[in-house]
């Protein structure tokens, strides 16, 4: 950690380390998601076991950061002083095309959005963050 001020963006691996590969991949501008090597089920980032077969065996597969807006919100107040953008800002929940996983992220490059809009991932490292964050912009 280098950005240790109170205003550093809350990001990066948890203490358990179960999500370390996710954050490492983002820093290499890849989206990697966990998959059970025993049964093949896609898992949630940061969980300890596979809820389909209870295996601990895990692989991190590269996934294309392209998908469709499942839902969204527009925040009108600055709840977080550490966030590098100011209200109003839009957060989207993206249903990925290639895997049955939804991911949250800030919308960049515009603020008009609707459910069903196509979006693609943008890797950004805010000035107050030690970690790269996956954000989303509308596909042209």
């Amino acid at each position: 950690m280098t950005a240790t001020s109170a205003e550093a963006l809350p990001a990066g691996p948890s203490e358990s380390g179960d999500d370390a590969d996710f954050w490492q991949a983002l820093d290499e501008h890849r989206l990697a998601l966990p998959r059970c090597t025993a049964c093949g089920a896609w898992r949630q980032v940061g969980t300890a076991t596979c809820p389909a077969c209870w295996s601990f065996d895990i692989a991190w597969d590269d996934v294309s950061p392209i998908g469709t807006v499942y839902t969204w919100v527009r925040t009108h107040r600055d709840f977080m002083s550490e966030l590098d953008v100011k209200a109003p800002y839009v957060t989207v929940l993206v249903q990925l095309d290639d895997v049955p996983v939804r991911l949250l992220g800030l919308l960049v490059g515009g603020d008009e959005i609707a459910i069903g809009d196509r979006v693609s991932g943008v890797f950004q490292k805010p000035g107050n963050s030690d970690w790269t964050i996956l954000r989303w912009e509308k596909s042209v």
Binding site: S14, R74, F79, P100
Partner: protein, 392 residues
């Protein structure tokens, strides 16, 4: 074995103050509420032998037992899964302890003081790094995400949310104890109020109070010996189906409140109706926890109290939602948005008042069924159905 009719709420206390204006500590307010609820029931606090609560906190059963000087603590249970989702479950857990003979007199309690909880706004302690870097940092955010899809994808009209709020404000005008007493709300003022987290306007959001609430439960047999109208617990459930949780943006039942079921798992709402042997259409009155209006609408749908999708707008009209003549009066004290908010437990007290016939918006004499639905779109969901002696 069932809890149906085994226990009853016989004493209540709802002591609330403006946020930040607690007259004493959370623990002090808790003790005050327990003593007041026992007085309401005509029971000595020394006879209490159990405590239940939800949403965490340090004021555990043993702590309260020592403060109150009770004879013997026999039941001390915290419902797991923070937030108000477990609020109704704390009442059901008290009833379960009595039904199974583990305890005789159990008090479901909750207290909040802003000075102790530091609630409101940013919940850094609650959300992890799959949420915070994306500006998702409050309960309003996660509820807004689901509500936006409820509106835009499922076709629930804005009027459903608006009318739930307007009904609460309407009821508050007859409740001198409500924060919005003397402050009626119009549809125009609702629409023109600022967005907090879109789709939530200011008026879609609950209040936040300091205070304490307590409900005293005893066996049905003992209840009949007291000089009160018992509100019998005739159904109750807690839990969630599948991986439903406030911090799971991947769950299948995304736009529900967490109380619906699947083909092979009935869910909280169905289990409550089944235990009680009552159909949703037979319900007299409902108090539904509105952390935000949208999730409360989803709760009504989960419980089969209003149709899903666009048709919900036909049912959730102001006329249908207000006492005394509405088809389904909701939040008759003003609820979390217009009365007060002590983690939603004041709504449970109002559910008891309707059975007793003492609500400021009493829907009539002889109320037989009164439902309290706990916090929606939360880590856990729960609801409890209260009934008059007629329902036994």
């Amino acid at each position: 074995m069932t809890i149906r009719g085994a226990a009853a709420v016989v004493g209540v206390a709802d002591l609330h103050h403006p946020r930040g204006k607690a007259p004493r500590s959370e623990r002090g307010m808790l003790v005050e509420a327990v003593v007041a609820a026992c007085r309401d029931a005509g029971i000595s606090p020394r006879d209490v032998d159990g405590f239940t609560s939800y949403a965490g906190g340090d004021n555990s059963g043993p702590v309260l037992a020592a403060e109150l000087g009770i004879r013997e603590l026999r039941w001390s249970t915290m419902v797991w899964g923070g937030g108000g989702g477990g609020s109704a479950a704390s009442i059901v857990t008290a009833a379960a302890a009595i039904a199974s003979g583990q305890a005789d007199c159990v008090v479901a309690v909750r207290s909040m003081a802003q000075a102790a909880t530091g609630r409101l706004g940013y919940a850094k302690y609650y959300f992890d790094h799959q949420y915070l870097p994306h500006g998702v940092a409050t309960p309003a955010h996660v509820c807004a995400l689901r509500t936006q899809r409820l509106l835009e994808h499922d076709g629930v009209p804005r009027s459903a949310m608006r009318n739930l709020v307007l009904a609460a404000y309407h009821h508050a005008q007859a409740n001198p104890d409500a924060a919005a007493y003397g402050k009626p709300l119009t549809a125009e003022a609702y629409d023109e109020s600022a967005y907090i987290v879109e789709p939530f306007h200011l008026y879609d959001c609950s209040r936040e109070n300091d205070g304490a609430v307590a409900l005293v439960l005893v066996s049905a047999e003992r209840a009949r010996q007291l000089d009160v109208t018992p509100a019998y617990v005739i159904g109750g459930a807690q839990g969630s189906v599948g991986a439903y949780a406030a911090r799971n943006e991947n769950d299948a039942a995304y736009t529900t409140a967490g109380g619906s079921g699947t083909d092979d798992s009935p869910g909280v709402a169905s289990r409550v109706w089944q235990q009680a042997g009552i159909k949703p259409s037979e319900l007299d009155v409902v108090q539904v926890y509105e952390n935000f209006s949208g999730p409360a609408v989803a709760s009504l749908m989960d419980h089969g109290l209003c149709p899903a999708g666009p048709a919900s707008g036909d049912f959730l009209t102001l006329d249908n939602l207000i006492a005394p003549h509405g088809v389904l009066p909701v939040n008759t004290s003003g609820g979390n948005v217009a009365d007060s908010f002590v983690n939603g437990m004041g709504l449970a007290v109002e559910a008891v008042r309707q059975i007793r016939g003492t609500s400021s918006n009493q829907i009539g004499t002889g109320v037989d069924t009164s439902l309290y639905i706990g916090g929606p779109m939360a880590p856990i969901h729960s609801s409890v159905l209260l009934g008059s002696a007629t329902t036994l």
